[in-house]
Amino acid sequence: MNEPQQKWTETIEDSHSLFDLKLKEVWRYKDLIYMFVKRDFISSFKQTILGPIWFFINPIFTTITYLIVFGRIANLPTDDAPPILFYLAGVTLWNYFSTSLLGTSSTFVGNASIFGKVYFPRLVTPLSIVLSNLMRFGVQFLLFIIAWGYYLAKGQVHPNIWILATPFLIILMALFALGVGMIFSALTTKYKDLSMLLGFGISLYMYATPVIYPTSALRGVFKDLAFYNPLTGIFECFKYAWLGVGDFSPLMLVISTFIILILLAIGTVIFNKIEKTFMDTV
């Protein structure tokens, strides 16, 4: 028999490599990411009258609430920045981080019915969540820009060159949400306790992050601790760049980047390990 040489295009087996994210495969599925983002967008606003206007309503009302509760009642300082802008900046950034983290952390549990029936690189799902939240962020950021423009015209804010770092800050925050989200998504397939923890953990974490207060208001050990919170650098840099307030030093951003990359690496390893067997435990 003169059979042609047998060749195999793929091998399915137990072993796996730790850091292989199969990015090439993810790229092949880029249309799926696009469709997932589109799905999220459509499903959010089907049969609503106001549609995407809801993107605006959320930060506006949150800002007003913060303004009343933290600004007027608790009298927290805003480093002499216009309080509305200060809270709006915090809310816009925080919304992006928290929705991305919550979304990615339920990757496996929330999509079990799809994952159980068909294979595609699982990373597609968290990526699509981070991206569709980025769209929301874009819209909310627009709102911030409008408010910011108003105060700029009034001469109450003093932006500087660090504004150019904004895309980097956003990417950093996305990677942070992705990394931590992947860790939680992988672990919650077995230990559902963690999803409980994450739920209130995120709301508590907001108070550990300079969302509603500036780091300059912190004293002693809290100030040292805040230094190691990856979001501190991002939030402070953003407020420093756009509003010209706060204690920002580039070192903060270096620390943030470092911690986020470590978390991302850990997330990747765990995600890769769980992705192949989670259907048996979810």
């Binding site: 059979e3 042609p4 047998q6 060749k7 195999w8 295009t9 793929e10 091998t11 399915i12 087996e13 137990d14 092949r28 599925y29 249309d31 799926l32 696009y34 469709m35 997932f36 589109k38 799905r39 459509i42 499903s43 089907k46 049969q47 019915s113 799809i114 994952f115 159980g116 029936k117 068909v118 294979y119 595609f120 077995k190 230990y191 559902k192 192949k276 067997t277 989670f278 259907m279 048996d280 435990t281």
Partner: protein
Amino acid sequence: MLALKAENISKQYRLGQVGTGTLSHDLNRFWYKVRGKEDPYLKIGETNDRTTKGTSEYVWSLRDIDFEIEQGDAVGIIGRNGAGKSTLLKLLSKVTKPTTGKIYTNGRVASLLEVGTGFHPEMTGRENVFLNGAILGMTRKEIKRKFDEIVDFSGVERYIDTPVKRYSSGMYVRLAFAVAAHLESEILIVDEVLAVGDAEFQKKCLGKMGDVTKGEGRTILFVSHNMTAVKELCNKGILLNQGTLGYEGSMLDTIIEYQKSSATASSYHYNGNINEALGNEKIKVKEFSVTPITGGLIDIDTGVHVKLTFENYLPNINLDTTFELKNYEELVIFHVGKLVTKDNDSKVGEYTVEFDIPSGLLNAGNYYFKLIFGKNQTDPLFIKDNFVGFEVENVKVGSKLHLYPGVTRPHFDYKIQTP
């Protein structure tokens, strides 16, 4: 040229609640791994037989499966419920990985374990075609190119811009299958997805899948309980039996082997200990079997031989047995009784009742018995419902295999007067 090769694949599952003890097992595993030892939980585990309560928390859903599939083959995977068919498909389609072993594939694999995976109710038919296509691995360009063909195949053109939540379930399935049917892949894995949709559409799907293998030379793996469909579509068969490879060969041989191996389903034998036999203090059923009168496989033309052996403990009564046959729709096909003893002269001991269901009486389909033992044709002594089921296979008329409607499929002696 092989399209797919499975080497020693096994899959272990943990039974019961995953939760309690999960952490301790994980830590234990980790500790063994650190010391360079083998996973302790891989050594234990037992064969997956859902009817008996096992002692181990771990079961092997699949154990040491080896097979090769040639390019262009259509392979039917059959077996009883819980034999591991779905697990095997999950491994092949990469939904979960094997516990041990390797699977080699050659070419793009598309798996269809469900139609309409990821369909979003709020999105329109058009958007869902793109979404579902992308989930199944098609690119946007590919879908765009085939879009008209897909819509045409589905026959829901009019509703294509309506959210799918407004669709009837039939339309939903049609659209979903249409997407799947247009996948471009060298290997297609299909689970029992054809059990949905109306008869006309089922035929269309079967036809399309037939085209896929015969016309386009693709390899196809098909899991089904519908022996007629499997027989029609596939040329090779794989029989799984409690997680192990029961038989591998031509499709017809595999089906025959399946019916033999599922002897527990199409017959009943007591295990030799009369105390454990089915029944009560009056009647004990020792054996009940359903076999073809001729040949190895029950089909419309073979007829069915029924044999019942039982132990009677009641002397001097009028003993009777009644056989009620139902089809899967719970429709009673017949309810026939027979007096075993007439003049109040029953004896304690073994009785055997046999009869034949003539060929052509039963149309193709699944049937099962209800067995009633009675006294004086009034008082029931022992009743067993959903007993011994069997399947009557379809036969070809001419060169066509066509499932005719109707409960019976009789042969008549026609008298025809021509002009």
